[in-house]
């Protein structure tokens, strides 16, 4: 089962963990949280996160389904925040429950690699020096592409 959400408000880690850990079939829960990080050499005040309503949710579901097809997983939760996000605030949550840890670790990493390159979100940085859209990183493409050549 896959649950995705795109929302302005923060998520509650304890509730999400509870949701992931309900089935006795799942012996492993792996979670990842991405936060707003400071920017080197300039003072970041906040980010704004934009998305493509409809397509973004669809893309996240599709990424979740691809993970389900690769590994035997019990549950996936993907939550991404949008709007204005201050320094150190949560941006994204990915949680995976499965029978064993190996699949759960791999799937969580896969989900983040694919989310970063295939889900329509755009970050804009607001700093003391002005505003600028964040450029896509080649390293994110490289991280995502390695899943195309391996099943592990």
């Amino acid at each position: 089962m896959i649950r995705v959400a795109v929302q302005e408000h923060n998520f509650n880690m304890a509730e999400l963990y509870h949701e992931l850990s309900q089935s006795p079939a799942n012996g492993a829960v792996v979670t990842f949280t991405g936060l707003v990080r400071e920017v080197v050499d300039t003072e970041l005040t906040h980010l704004t996160l934009e998305h493509y309503p409809g397509m973004t949710e669809r893309a996240l579901n599709d990424i979740g389904q691809q993970a389900m097809a690769r590994w035997p997983l019990g549950k996936i939760i993907i939550i991404h925040r949008i709007g204005i996000l201050g320094l150190n605030e949560n941006i994204v949550f990915v949680g995976v429950a499965s029978g064993h840890r190996k699949q759960a670790f791999a799937a969580a990493e896969f989900l983040m690699d694919y989310l970063k390159t295939r889900a329509p979100f755009w970050k804009k940085e607001h700093t003391s020096a002005g505003t600028s859209w964040v450029a896509a990183k080649d390293s994110d493409q490289t991280a995502a592409s390695r899943w195309q050549s391996s099943k592990e």
Binding site: M55, V92, R118, P120, F121, W122, W133, A136
Partner: protein
């Protein structure tokens, strides 16, 4: 056909959404050419930016077909997560 623009592209073009009269099926690339011909500013913006395209909310290549009633979107490479 509805055409949507997001993020940097939306800001540079000063346009989030427009409607094109399109009765015959065409391709994403041809629609893009049509948009570039709107003005020098549109041409500069669309030429100088790496673009991704989606039709009806799925990623497509630029040779993909689009037709009347479709929702076509252009946007920069994604930077979420």
């Amino acid at each position: 056909m509805k055409v949507l623009f997001f993020a940097l592209l939306r800001e540079r073009l000063g346009c989030a959404e427009l409607v094109l009269e399109q009765n015959e099926p065409t391709t994403v690339a041809k629609v893009l050419e049509q948009l570039k011909s709107r003005s020098q500013e549109w041409r500069n913006t669309l030429d100088n930016q790496e673009l991704l395209a989606a039709v009806n909310q799925s990623f497509v290549d630029f040779d993909a077909t689009v037709q009347k009633g479709d929702e076509l979107a252009f946007f920069p490479p994604v930077t979420g997560g």
